[in-house]
Subunit: 153 residues, 2 copies
DNA sequence: TATTGTTATACTCTATAACTATA
DNA sequence: TATAGTTATAGAGTATAACAATA
C-alpha cells in the first residue's frame, strides 16, 4: 500500500521500474539471456579490450561474479577472452561477430519493450519523461548506461 | 551500457527505479525493517482484518512466504493475528498501536527519501513526473500502492 | 610479495510441496 | 474431502574467501 496518499514519486518510480525490469527480463529470456548478461554484453561492446577487473569495477560487482557471466557469453561465442601477451594474467574482453548480431536483436527487443511500456504516452510526453529521469539519474550519480541493480551492497 | 543511445525510457526507468528502491531499503533498514515488511505493514493498515491468503493474493506472493513476514512483524508487536471464532482456520491480520507508530516513522522516512531522490526537480516537474508515472502504472495494470517487485513469477 | 582470474564455500531469499488443524 | 496456515526441503543467485598462475 502507498505509505503516502497519493504515493510519492519515489514509490512510483520503484514500482514502475521493477515492472519494466521484469517485462524486459521476460523478453530477453526469449533470447536465452538474463538482464545481467545483456548489461555485460553491452558494456563489452561499448568498451572493448578491458580486463575483467576493470569491467567488474564499472558494473560494481565482485570479479568472481563476472567469471560466470563471461563464461555463459563465451560458451555461446558471443564474447571472447584474449590473453594479453605482455601480462598473461589479464584477459581482455571482446565482442564477436555473433555477439554483435545478438546485440542487434537485443536492441530490437529493447525498442519494442520501450514502446509497450510507454504506449499510454505521446511522443512529447515520452521525451519529457526521459528528460526528467535523466536529470534524476545524473543528480543521483548513476553512471549512464549502467544498471545499478547489478551492483552489490 | 545503454543498448540504445540515448537510453530509452524503459532502461532509465528500471535503473532509476532500482536506485530508488535500494536507497529506500537503506533508510528503512535503520528502522530494522525490510521493504517487503514495510509493504505488508502498509497493506494491513490499509485493509485490516484480511486473512493471510487474501493478503498473499493481493501482494502476489505464495502464502507460505507471508508467514515469515507476518512472524517478523508480530514478534515485534507491530501486527497481530486474530483467530476468527466462526472459522478457526482463519487468522485476521490487524495493525497494533505500536505498528501505527512505526508506520508514521516510515511515512517520514518515505518523504525524506522522496525529497532526496527528486531534489533536482522543482515542484511542477515532480508533479509532471508523478502524473506520467501514474499513467504508465495504470496502463500496465499495476495495482496502486502494491510494489510488483515482491510478486512471484 | 602482489595481482588476475578462478574455484569453493556459505549464506540469503524464495518457491514448491508436505504437513496440521480445522471445517 | 477441502481449505488456512505452517513447516520442510530444495533451488537460484550472490558474496566472501581460498587458490593457482603470473608478475
Amino acid at each position: 500500500m502507498p505509505l503516502e496518499n497519493p504515493p510519492g514519486s519515489a514509490f512510483l518510480l520503484a514500482a514502475v521500474g521493477a515492472h519494466a525490469a521484469a517485462r524486459f527480463a521476460e523478453r530477453v529470456a526469449a533470447l536465452d539471456l538474463t538482464p545481467p548478461q545483456v548489461g555485460l554484453l553491452g558494456l563489452i561492446a561499448a568498451s572493448p579490450g578491458q580486463s575483467q577487473q576493470q569491467v567488474a569495477q564499472v558494473l560494481g560487482m565482485p570479479p568472481s561474479r563476472l567469471v560466470g557471466l563471461v563464461d555463459a557469453l563465451a560458451d555461446r561465442g558471443l564474447v571472447e577472452r584474449r590473453r594479453n601477451p605482455d601480462d598473461r594474467r589479464l584477459h581482455a574482453l571482446h565482442i564477436t561477430e555473433a555477439g554483435r548480431a545478438v546485440l542487434d536483436e537485443i536492441g530490437a527487443v529493447g525498442r519494442a519493450h520501450d514502446d509497450a511500456l510507454c504506449r499510454s504516452l505521446d511522443a512529447d510526453e515520452r521525451e519529457t519523461l526521459r528528460a526528467l529521469l535523466s536529470r534524476i539519474a545524473a543528480d543521483q550519480g548513476l553512471r549512464p548506461g549502467v544498471h545499478p541493480g547489478y551492483r552489490s551492497v
